[in-house]
């Protein structure tokens, strides 16, 4: 099946300027600095990374809330980055977004019915005027909310229920793609599972493709078919969930995975922690060569001179192992860092 979305060399730079009258550019915040990936129908692509890695900016560009500085986003083969007016509106209908914060992404002065039904004002062809209330009730039911709540306001709902409202709004126009930016990170553990399960159910029911962006590596593994790891504006490693979690080859992915606290006290002693030193460099002054080299324990001279490309590393090119996947490191090596399950479950 051809991909729904093809993202190629996507770049977003925010200019830093000085002066009011004679503005001149003195630099740029390189939020996203060359990101490429495909999204196929019905699949979930997880994007993980720490704050400031550019994952949310990628999300905004996918739903045309931000215009890329360069690069292309192809939706079913058509470049949508330059679209405007009616053509853009038509594409946006198919790519919807669910936001992180269920407390600020819903207008407190609108009823739930108005919030979920608002997309119909912009795309009246989806639901004729007389039919909207019925459509909204249906949507509330689909996301597990009582349709009788249609006249309530957001503050009358809990965080988890609010996130369901946000999802209902995202579904209103029958999109093919949902971009979810940290959809469960503001929720309590017991409610998180409810929302994750709902998203999986809806995916099967409506054949949705998800771009699921999060910093929680366990949730991303659970929901994703493929995973991309971002660092400072770029994807540094990408592959299936098994390839990334059980056979990571990029040092950053390894450090990230080794730092995740796992709910197993026995792992404390056995586990090898890779503690990175220092902080992520500022996106206004990205290191030359490999952008991870300033925190990497393997960095050598070559890393400062040559940008590593996101491709299958030479060492694994002919090997028949799950380590054979794209990794942007000159010295890629496989290293297992995730400990096993204490209660002996298997996948």
């Amino acid at each position: 099946m051809p991909p729904l979305l093809e993202v190629r060399d996507l770049v977003k730079h925010y200019p830093l300027t000085r002066g009011v009258l004679f503005r001149k550019q003195i630099g740029a915040v390189k939020a996203v600095d060359g990101v490429s990936f495909d999204l196929r129908p019905g699949e979930t692509l997880g994007i993980v990374g720490e704050s400031g890695c550019g994952k949310s900016t990628v999300a905004k560009m996918l739903v045309s809330l931000e215009r890329p500085t360069s690069g292309r986003i192809l939706y079913k083969g058509e470049d949508i980055t330059g679209l405007s007016g009616r053509a853009l509106k038509a594409v946006r209908r198919n790519i919807q977004m669910v936001f992180q914060d269920p407390y600020t992404s819903l207008n407190p002065r609108m009823t739930v019915g108005d919030i979920v039904g608002e997309p119909f004002d912009i795309h009246p062809e989806v639901a004729p005027k007389g039919d909207r209330r019925r459509k909204v009730r249906e949507l509330l039911d689909v996301v597990g909310l009582n349709p009788e709540y249609i006249n309530r306001y957001p503050h009358q709902f809990s965080g988890g229920q609010r996130q369901r409202i946000g999802i209902a709004r995202g579904l209103a126009l029958n999109p093919e793609i949902i971009v979810a930016d940290e959809p469960v990170s503001a929720l309590d553990v017991s409610v998180q599972a409810q929302v994750v399960n709902l998203m999986e159910k809806l995916q099967t029911e409506f054949g949705l493709a998800y771009v699921f962006i999060a910093h929680d590596l366990s949730i991303v593994r659970h929901i994703s078919d493929r995973v991309g790891v971002m660092y400072l504006g770029r994807i540094v490693e990408t592959g299936t969930d098994t390839e990334i979690y059980d056979h990571p080859t990029h040092p950053y992915t390894q450090a990230l995975l080794s730092a995740v606290p796992v709910p197993d006290p026995e792992a404390r002693e056995q586990r090898e922690r890779i503690l990175l030193t220092g902080d992520v460099p500022s996106p206004t002054g990205i290191p030359s060569g490999c952008r991870f080299r300033t925190r990497c324990w393997k960095a050598r001279e070559r890393c400062a001179l040559e940008v590593p490309l996101l491709a299958v590393p030479a060492a694994f090119r002919d090997a028949d192992t799950p380590a054979r996947h794209d990794s942007a490191c000159h010295f890629a090596e496989e290293k297992r860092v995730v400990p096993g399950d204490p209660r002996g479950h298997t996948g």
Binding site: S158, V189, S190, A193, A259, V262, R268, P342
Partner: protein, 327 residues
Amino acid sequence: MLLEVRDLYVEFRTRDGVAKAVNGVTYSVDAGETLAVLGESGSGKSVTAQAVMGILDTPPGRITGGEVLFRGRDLLKLKEDARRAVRGAEMAMIFQDALSSLNPVLTVGDQLGEMFVVHRGMSRKDARAKAVELMDRVRIPAARERVGQYPHQFSGGMRQRIMIAMAMALEPALIIADEPTTALDVTVQAQVMELLAELRRELGMGLILITHDLGVVADVADRIAVMYAGRIVETAPVHDIYKAPAHPYTQGLLDSIPRLDHKGRELYAIKGLPPNLTAIPPGCPFHPRCPRARDVCRIDVPPLYRVSEERRSACHFWEETVDASSA
């Protein structure tokens, strides 16, 4: 015992009625020990800590019963100035949000030094030197140069180190850390937790770690107390609870977190929502969400049953719960 909280009750007067935030909490921490207090939002874990520290907003909050014994003295009976002498010097707190807990218009050196000026009567110059020493100790690079900088000039992880430095300044016997790494990225979180554990070992302090993260608890705690609706529902040594939880709520939490080591099938989801604290259900407060609930659960509040020497569970059916989870 360094700290013993006994049968503590805290209420808040709100527009919707009286919110019963803490309903008979009992826990203790020894010197050199790490107790994790685990709970979701509204479980009362932070309110209990605020009552222990004596920083509860009263009103609207009100302590309606119980004792907080610190080295045998009931802190709730102390006058405010005596309390203030304990706070900072003998027990200190680290908050989640370092940026809003630090004063933005004072340099970090002034804020760290203030501890020594106020509690130890040091000169400002000596206090400054102490501040540099502390910053070195929490491994802030270039401490001497950075001591004159303001909080906004530090990264999130570095600010949390400053908070830790401030809490440790007077080498207190007890530190309460309320979600100390929740706002931090995972690689930075690991650095900060490591630092905290190291300092605790070095100084032999007691540590109460308040968190919602079962992973963080497994990493650092000796014992755990799980809270729900203002009550402790289970306490146990940390190794036991992960192997075989003795309360359905703990079990539900453990089953609902996705795993890092395999993809897994559908997640277990605890049905429903945490209770409204102005109308906590009668009987066991967890019964409306509990898969094991029976008639008795709707009527009788379960006491903390003795599961073993070191374990307690507030579930009428703790035996089946342990059996089911260890099967």
